[in-house]
Symmetry: C2
């Protein structure tokens, strides 16, 4: 049983200390984490951004990523979407007894790689182990803090009529990647998750000096849910052009097969930006220069009519309301 996680790994005792020092600190270490006090302590100046997410994706390994990469990218992205520069993450594991140590090791490595890519440090953590059957392999919570640069005010409540809506790439890749792995589906063209940290992209967008009003990463509930949130928070209408929506043919095929609408399928490496109309081109150019934004496009605009509602102009020229998700589409996608 030495190759598996035991309840004693979560006891606060010797096995837990060994696991933390030999695996987590070795892979993720930095001077703040290595102090191993009850809290990390560090200097920060300015307006702080603070966010949290628990990750329960099933399976924990999927094409294009794993729960570790997802846990870093998701929280980095939540910080970035307020315009903040992500700096420090916490890392908390809930492990089901019996998890292979080799699997945990792979995930810790993946966390280390994603944190290095995003330029963030893991500074504090926690490890709990629950008895077999009381969790499903591994859940991870990451919380994060970052600093919002002077003069930045980005919020879902800031959209104004006339603003353009940009999406940074194709829709639905993450949801379809996880689902296909879970259900053992094989498509002709495999769909990898888009899971990626977007903080560099956001920094490059902000560096243009453009008026960026809203940013959000359309994860659970997909683009449709994010746009409905903007419409409600800002009390504006949103018009989308179906023909402009970027979807990979393989994702579109999978969605048609499974009866999903890609507007509602989760993304983990995409952002939606609401931008002042005169600044659209330079924001779009900045996004497209980033490795994760090559396929960015304008997909619609903010209007004064039908406040709180998102309306799609279909490829046949008709209009239909795009509502928030009702019920459950794809459980445990993140």
């Amino acid at each position: 049983m030495a190759d598996r996680i035991l309840l004693a790994h979560g006891s606060g005792g010797k096995l837990m200390h060994d696991l933390i020092r030999q695996s987590f600190v070795t892979t993720l270490g930095n001077p703040i984490l290595e102090k191993l006090d009850d809290s990390a302590v560090f200097d920060l100046k300015g307006r702080l951004a603070f966010t949290t997410d628990s990750y329960v994706v099933s399976p924990i390994f999927f094409p294009g990523g794993d729960i570790g990469r997802l846990a870093v990218c998701g929280t980095v992205n939540d910080l970035s979407m307020t315009g903040a520069r992500p700096l420090y993450l916490s890392l908390s594991f809930i492990i089901e007894e019996g998890l292979l140590l080799a699997d945990l090791e792979k995930i810790v490595n993946s966390i280390g790689e994603a944190a290095a890519e995003a330029g963030v440090k893991i500074v504090t953590g926690d490890t709990k182990v629950v008895d077999k059957g009381s969790a499903d392999r591994l859940f991870i919570n990451t919380s994060g803090v970052g600093v919002v640069p002077e003069g930045i005010d980005i919020s879902g409540a800031n959209a104004r009529p006339g603003d353009k809506i940009i999406v940074s790439g194709t829709l639905g890749d993450h949801g379809i990647a996880v689902l296909s792995q879970r259900e053992g589906l094989r498509f002709q063209v495999p769909v990898p998750s888009d899971c990626a940290p977007l903080n560099t992209m956001v920094a490059e967008m902000l560096a243009t000096g453009a008026e960026i009003h809203c940013l959000r990463d359309p994860t659970r509930g997909g683009l449709a849910t994010t746009l409905n949130e903007f419409a409600q928070q800002s009390r504006v209408g949103i018009r989308l052009d179906e023909l402009s929506l970027p979807v990979e043919p393989a994702v579109l095929g999978a969605c048609e097969l499974l009866g999903f609408d890609p507007l509602y399928v989760a993304n983990e490496g995409k952002l939606v930006a609401v931008v002042a109309p005169g600044d659209t081109d330079r924001v779009l150019a900045a996004i497209r220069q980033n490795r994760y934004g090559r396929k960015a496009v304008v997909i619609g605009q903010v209007v004064g009519e039908h406040p709180g509602r998102v309306v799609l102009k279909t490829r046949l020229g008709a209009s239909r309301i795009v509502d928030v998700l009702v019920g459950e589409l794809l459980p445990r996608i993140c």
Copy 2:
């Protein structure tokens, strides 16, 4: 099924938005949380403390508290143990499908009460729902940020020979309370958990101006584990006097019955302080004036001999090494 949590409550869609707005925001609301953006944004100055903990206690309701109160107090205490003033918490739920909404409501209320008592605000959150059998009712992660006042340097690495060791009250109450609830044990005198926020106590201790070198709350692994951590981090020896250790008779009785050593049983409303010898009396007086510190006592001292080891002088005058916990004593106690 309308009285239970469904998978759709975690979908990012309508049910989730309704749950967040109608339950969480109504009970826990404040202007920062109510913005409902991807991150909370607020001003902070100075040295920041940042910590995280996931709570998996079973059962979720126990004498003297529940998982909600525990999740607030535990994280408030981890911040306090670096001398920080706790300010803001994040709150992330992993809910098993089928949890009674009434139970969730009770726990959210309990979170609100504990946060009010500790004077902290819940500013950001996350809700995930997993399918029945993939979690055990409810897990909660709270992370927290606070500010460390100028001139404070408290760390497990700061103990020096000659320092006195104070514990703020009786040992093992939380562990025995949870265990008795879980196993359906009935003792003549019921044992409630000591689960409590200690930030006010720490502020009162710091206000004395005393030289406080280390602070820690002895949770999982109990007092023995905390003192071993201090001994190793500070490379000093620690001597304990068994006769001075405060344990409630009911807890002692339960421990004897069950074969536990109260030195290893978890506490959730106690702290251990390592204090310069000349300042012991005023720190002790400050702790005793706090409602959660009436039974505070000096239990031992830091020595230059046997660095890295904790040695107990037993009531018979013998000495024995108090090692870190090996194996698992009480799983899922926090």
